[in-house]
Every structure is written in C-alpha cells, then in structure tokens.
C-alpha cells in the first residue's frame, strides 16, 4: 500500500465512526437514538419525539442553508461549477433511476405493506439514496473535482425533494407551491440579512439568526413543504451578500449545526421500528444504491475524464441528507408507520460501514490521487 494512502482517507474513516466533526457522524448518534428510543429504553418516548418535530424542520433548513452557501461559494469558479453540478446531477439521476426501478419491481412483487403506494415508496427510497456525503477537499486537481461532484449531488435531492414533499403533503399544484416556498425563503432571508447587517450586540445577532432559521424551517413545516428548499435559497442569498453578513451567519450557524445534526440523527435512530419489513427493504436498498453509485460514477467519470474508482470512493458514503429528507417526508405523511424512515436510516448506516470497507480495500484509487 503506498505510503500516505491511509492518512489520505482517514477523514472518511473517522467520519463513519463518528469522530470527525466535519463529516456525517451518523453511526454513533443513530445507534444512540436506537438505544434511547421506544424500541429499547424508551427514554425518548413517542410523545417526546413528537415534541422534537420543529427541531427536524429547523435542522433541515440549516442543512439547506449550507447546501446553498456551498453552491454559491463554488459558483465563483464560473463554468467549472456548472460542469460539476451537471456531473453530480447526472450520477444522482442514475442512482435514483437504478434504486427506484429496482425497489419498485420488488415492492410490486412483494406486496409489502407500506404507508404509501409502491411507486411512491420506490421514488422516495430512490431519492433518499441519491446523495453522497460531502468531502472536504480543497484545491484543484482530479481529487477535488471528484469531491465536488460528490458534494453537489445535494442539489438534486433538494430540488426533487421539494416536489416530493409538497406532493405527499397533499398539494395539487406543485410548481406553484414550490415557487411560493422559494419566495418565502427569499423574503425571510432578505429580512434576516438586513437585520443582521444592522444588529447591535452579539446576543441580538444570535437571536436574529436563530429566529430566521426557525422561520425558514417553520414556514416550510407550516405549509407542508420542504425546508431544504427555503434554506437553500437563503444560503444562496446570504453567501452573495456582504462579507460581514456572511461571516456572521456562518459563525452562528456553525454553532447551531452540530447540536441540531446530533438531534436529527438521534431522532432518526429512535424512529427505527424493528420489523421484518425493515429488513426486507433496507438490505436490497444498500445493494442497489451501491450499484447505482457505481454505474453513475463510471458514466460520469467517462464523461468528465476522472478516474472512476476515485469518484466511486467519494460517492459511496451516503451522508445524512437522505435521512433528513426521509424525516421530512415522514412529517408530512402524518402516519405512525415509520417504515420509510427506518429503511433509509438503516440503509444509510449500513452504507456508511460498507463505504468504510471499500475505502480500506481500494488502494487503486489512492494511486490516482498520488499521481494527480
């Protein structure tokens, strides 16, 4: 094994085990949620979990803000960003297609009791599988290009997720509703930024940031739309504004992000219901997601001239945006059956472990990194 290779992938390894604060520490917190949840200790009872619903919406808004600000920051690279986004969307769509088709076939054949019809269930599962964990790669070169493609597949989930959530919430004119969500996001973001620019003291600033984020999440939850979208719009706007505002927002939000993500993962873990259906769904989901990602990475790598193995390594870890979307969908479905959330969470954790394994046994990718 080439020297330095192990270290190069240490962040990914650490992330899976929950030691890094940058990548998604999903495993540890999800397990904590499972232990504390109704299935085991019942410290987080059903009633208590329901109280945390607003926290889920707010977390989604914050995650959306980071997606938006990440996109905005990258947009400074100009045309290159466009290619990254295209590549990311392409591999995301391939993954979505693969997973959704396979799961639809299986659900149709199985007759598994789902809270939604098989087509919707397959689409939701496919959508939640499209995203990959963000990778902190800076600089230029092959590795960073591959990392960008892994980063930007969030946008596909945010965009499609908005329509999915609005549809499942019962809205008939989806385009109008999503459009209104965007407008509300813009209004809140502009008002928030204006207040921040003229805010006096640090406590007041943090109140405004907290309040704005709650408005972003709360307005979306109120109307039954996706907070990811309103947060993404807000993030895009804020990153474009004065540097001082951006810096203020960034520092305050970073403080909020960590506890909120922890709460989200614990809730997701506590939402898992251990049933046979879960096993039937989660296991194939992991496999088909991996297949989809591999196909996607091969196609995208061919088109963009990247090493396929490297790209696949970056695309393998699932990240937590899929779990977040699944929780959002669970909120609007308003049913007690959390099969979809359980399946997505369980498969995400399994996929993280699988990605870890792949990372360890993928020296091929490392040689491309060394070469690049």
């Amino acid at each position: 094994m080439p020297p330095g290779s192990w270290r190069a992938f240490a962040p990914a390894r650490h992330a899976a085990l929950g030691f890094s604060e940058h990548a998604a520490p999903s495993l540890v917190f999800v397990l904590t949620g499972v232990v504390l949840g109704p299935e085991l200790l019942d410290v987080l009872s059903v009633n208590l979990l329901a109280q945390f619903d607003p926290a889920v919406s707010v977390t989604l808004a914050v995650l959306g803000i980071f997606v938006g600000s990440g996109l905005s920051a990258a947009a400074s690279h100009g045309r290159v960003t466009f290619w990254w986004v295209t590549g990311a969307t392409l591999q995301g769509l391939i993954t979505f297609g693969t997973v959704a088709a396979a799961m639809y076939l299986l659900l149709h054949q199985w007759g598994l009791p789902l809270p939604v019809d098989p087509l919707t269930g397959a689409a939701v599962l496919g959508l939640c599988s499209t995203v990959s964990a963000a990778v902190r790669e800076t600089g230029s070169g092959t590795a960073s290009n591959a990392a960008r493609i892994a980063d930007f597949d969030d946008l596909l989930l945010v965009a499609l997720g908005a329509f999915a959530v609005a549809w499942l919430a019962g809205w008939s004119s989806l385009v109008v509703v999503v459009g209104l969500t965007l407008v509300a996001g813009v209004v809140i973001a502009v008002a928030g930024a204006a207040l921040l620019a003229f805010s006096g003291t640090a406590p007041e600033r943090s109140v405004f940031v907290t309040g704005t984020v709650f408005l972003l999440g709360g307005a979306a939850a109120y109307t039954g739309t996706s907070p990811l979208v309103s947060g993404c719009v807000a993030g895009l706007l804020w990153a474009r504004m004065q540097r001082s505002v951006t810096a203020l927002v960034d520092s305050d939000l970073k403080k909020l992000q960590h506890p909120l993500v922890v709460i989200l993962l614990i809730i997701a873990g506590a939402s898992i219901q251990f049933t046979y259906q879960l096993l039937w769904l989660a296991a194939p989901l992991v496999l088909f997601r991996l297949t989809g990602k591999l196909i996607g990475s091969l196609v995208t790598a061919r088109l963009f001239g990247l090493p396929a193995g490297l790209l696949a390594t970056y695309l393998a870890p699932p990240g937590l945006l899929g779990i977040a979307l699944a929780l959002n969908i669970q909120q609007v479905l308003s049913t007690g059956d959390t099969l979809l959330v359980s399946a997505v969470t369980a498969s995400t954790v399994a996929a993280e472990l699988l990605a870890l394994v792949l990372v360890i046994f993928q020296p091929l990718a490392l040689s491309s990194v060394e070469a690049a």
């Binding site: 329901a50 109280q51 619903d53 607003p54 919406s57 707010v58 209104l180 509300a184 209004v187 809140i188 502009v190 008002a191 928030g192 204006a194 207040l195 620019a197 003229f198 006096g200 640090a202 406590p203 007041e204 943090s206 109140v207 405004f208 907290t210 309040g211 704005t212 984020v213 709650f214 408005l215 972003l216 999440g217 709360g218 307005a219 939850a221 109120y222 109307t223 039954g224 506890p259 909120q331 308003s334």
Partner: protein, 455 residues
C-alpha cells in the same frame, strides 16, 4: 438621528412588516386550526424571536424595558387581538416556559454572592418579611371588609368569609421572581436596589409556597372537602422547599466542579443542566425555580470566578429563551377576563400598588434600610406572571364555584401588573443609576459597599 440610525430604523421597520406580512399570507393559505400543532411551532418560534426582538428594541428606544416590548408584542399578536399567534401557537410557545424559568432562576442565584451581601443580608430579610406581611395583612383586611361587593362569592358566611379572602389575598399579593429578575438581567443591573429586590422576591417566592399551601388547606377544611393530613402536609412542604434547595445545591456544586476542572463546552453543559433541572424537578415534586436558584447560588458562592464567567455565558445565551417566554406570557394573557372585570381589576391593582408602597415604607423603617435606593424597592414587586396564573388555575380547578371567579379576577389584575411592573422597576433602576453596572463590576467580591453614582 444619524443616517445610520435612520437606515437602521427603516430596515428594521421593513423587516418587521415583511415578516408580519408573511405570517398573514401563510395563515390565509393554510388555516392554523386545520393542521397538527407541531407544524405551527417552528413558525411561531421564528416569528416570536425575530419580530418580538424588534419590538423590544423599539421599547428600548422609548426607555421601556425590552421585555415589556415582548409582552406587548405577544399581546398584540396573540389570540385576543390580531390572532397572528393563534391559540394553538400561543400554547406551543409555552413549551419553553420550564426551561426559561430555570435559566432565569439560575441567573438570580448567580447574582447572590453571600460574602458580598453578608452584612446586608439580615436587614434585607427583615425588610422583605415586614413588607410581605404588611401588604398581606393590609389587603386581607380590605378584602374581608369589601367581600360582599366583590363578584366572587358575596353570600359566603362564617369561616368561608375569612378563608376565601385569604386565598384571594395570597394570589393577589404574590410577586413574580421571573419578571423581576429578567428585568434586572436584561438591564445588566447591579447595585443595592437590585440586590434588595432580588432578595425580597426570592424570599417572597418561598413565602408564597407556604402561604398558598396553608390558605388552600384552610379553604378546603372550610368548604367541607376533606383536607390532607396535617403532618403529611408539613412533610410535603418541607420536602418541596428544603429538598429543592438541597437538590439544587448538589447540582450546582457538581457543575461548579466541572467548571473548575474541565470548563469546556459550557453552553452545552449548561443547557443540559437546565433540561435536567426542569425534567427531574417535576418528577421529584421539587420547585424548579428553587432548584435552579440553589444551583446558581452554589456555583456563585463555591466558585465565584467561574460563577461570573458562567453568568456572562448564560445571559448572552439566554436572550432567545427570554424573548419566547415573554411573548408566550403576553399571548396567553386573558384579555377576556380583563374586559369582564375592567374597572374592578384596575382599582384592585391600584390598591395593590399602594399597599406595596406602604408596606415597603414600613419595612424600611423596621429594617433601618431607609436609603434612597431602597425607597424605590417596591417597584420591583409589582410584576406578576406565570406563578400567579398557575396557582390561580389550581384554585379554579379545585373549587369549581368560586375558584373560577377568583381566577378571573387574579388573571385580570395580573395582566395589568405584568404590563406596568417592568416599566416601573426599570425606571427605578435608571433612577438609581444601576443600569449596566454589571459589565463594569469587578469579579472579585469586595467588602466595601458600592457607591451609587449620581444620575
């Protein structure tokens, strides 16, 4: 007004209107009673945080306490007026109450440095006791005499004629530690007046628990309801008060130890402490307020350096909780009760003010604290909030017939007091020159008394 100030005012006004407009549009699109209450919480919280802070700033420009701004905002946007915060939302906002009260009490505890206050502690307790007792006796006499004209139970006879006024007086006299401490925390006040008022309201809270339990026992025995066994009642009281203080001291000591030895991630651990206090206090039948107070006391007096740093962190981080707490208080103020009893509530509120002033005069005489600072101490006792309303609710649930009427009256009086109390107290603090003194106060406790600057 400078250009900056004008731009700021314009921007804030614009942002406020935009957010209010958004609320209106959203509620038109989706009526609030049509959806589950969990879906309204985030929106209510965000709206309260942003818009109420702006109104609080506006109040500050008019030399009023910010929390009066939050209260008025809650009132104006609440279910009784504009209904931007629907009844469901108003209920949801109260979810932070437990946490907010714990935090406020913690702040209060952190204020009380026994070494620093040792000399004055005795006279302050004397002042407090005399004030409370004289106000109580005065109002009780008034209520007993005026009972037939009060719209509660005019035809009560015998011992009921005494028991019911006792219950009413206990509720009317009760002070609100949370509002008073919040005013002090928000104004960053420190000085003899603040310390005196703080001591008195804490003392009053302890006294209230005692008075209320005894008054309810009295009323129960007079109404023919079988009263609880007297011994178990005393035991319960003892458990509630002493147990809360002991538990709080324990938690506070542990926290002080943590601060001294590790001292990392203070905000998170503090939040966890507050959640722990709120949760376990209910389970163990303790008073969360007393527990948090004792915890703050323990930290401040065992580890004063850490205490001040913690105090800082708490105050800077507590603003969102306070905003929501007071918006919720304003939104849940029962204006119907006020409208129903209008003049009577106003009159009784006025009488209570007079009684407080007279009682404070007597207290100052007796405790020999007759200084310019203590002359205005009565203003810190005017406000009434959550505790009073909660106790009134208990009375209403237990004594169906007259209890509801007592509740209506107390709620109406309380609504008035919670609005004027903070304004009066803050004016007194400004007069005493104690605003903002907290920032300039030294962390090391000194024996010398703090001089009051002019103006």
């Amino acid at each position: 007004m400078t250009l900056f100030a004008r731009s700021r005012a314009a921007v804030r006004g614009g942002a406020f209107l935009a957010i209010v407009g958004l609320m209106v549009v959203l509620q038109r699109a989706v009526p609030a009673d049509a959806i589950s209450e969990y879906r309204t919480t985030g929106l209510a919280l965000g709206f309260a945080l942003v818009a109420a802070t702006l109104v609080g700033n506006l109040a500050d420009t008019f030399r009023l306490p910010r929390l009066s701004g939050y209260l008025i905002f809650g009132l104006a946007c609440g279910p009784y007026v504009a209904n931007l915060l629907t009844p469901v939302m108003a209920r949801q906002l109260q979810l932070v109450n437990g946490l907010a009260i714990t935090l406020i009490a913690l702040v209060a505890g952190l204020e009380i440095n026994i070494v620093r206050m040792r000399r004055r502690l005795g006279p302050m307790m004397a002042f407090g006791s005399v004030t409370i007792l004289s106000v109580f006796v005065g109002l009780l006499t008034l209520f007993v005499i005026a009972w037939p004209w009060l719209p509660i139970a005019p035809d009560a006879t015998g011992l009921q004629r005494l028991a019911l006024p006792v219950v009413l007086t206990t509720l009317v006299v009760s002070f609100s530690p949370t509002v008073t401490i919040a005013v002090m925390a928000e104004s960053r006040a420190r000085g003899p007046l603040s310390e005196l008022v703080l001591t008195v309201v804490i003392l009053a809270d302890l006294a209230l628990i005692l008075f209320f339990t005894l008054a309810m026992q009295f009323a129960r025995s007079v109404s023919g309801v079988v009263p609880a066994d007297d011994i178990s009642l005393l035991t319960r009281l003892f458990w509630e008060v002493a147990g809360s203080l002991a538990y709080g001291t324990l938690l506070g000591s542990l926290f002080a130890l943590y601060l001294r030895l590790i001292g990392r991630e203070i905000t998170v651990v503090l939040l966890a402490l507050c959640v722990l206090v709120t949760g376990t206090s209910a389970l163990l039948h303790f008073e969360a307020l007393l527990v948090a107070l004792a915890a703050g006391l323990a930290v401040e007096n065992i580890a004063p350096f850490q205490g001040d740093a913690l105090h800082d962190a708490v105050e800077r981080g507590a603003l969102p909780l306070l905003v929501v707490f007071f918006v919720a208080a304003g939104a849940n103020l029962n204006l119907h009760a006020l409208a129903e009893l209008g003049w009577l509530a106003l009159a009784l509120s006025g009488l209570r003010l007079v009684g407080l002033w007279l009682g404070a005069c007597a207290g100052r005489r007796v405790a020999r604290l007759d200084t310019s600072e203590t002359a205005a101490a009565w203003t810190g006792l005017v406000a009434q909030a959550g505790v009073t309303f909660g106790l009134a609710g208990i009375v209403a649930t237990e004594f169906r017939d007259w209890g509801m009427k007592v509740q209506t009256l107390v709620v109406a009086i309380g609504a008035l007091n919670v609005l004027i109390g903070p304004m009066l107290f803050r004016a007194a603090l400004v007069q005493a020159g104690e605003i903002g003194r907290l920032d300039s106060a030294s962390p090391v406790p000194t024996e010398s008394s703090v001089r009051v600057p002019n103006g």
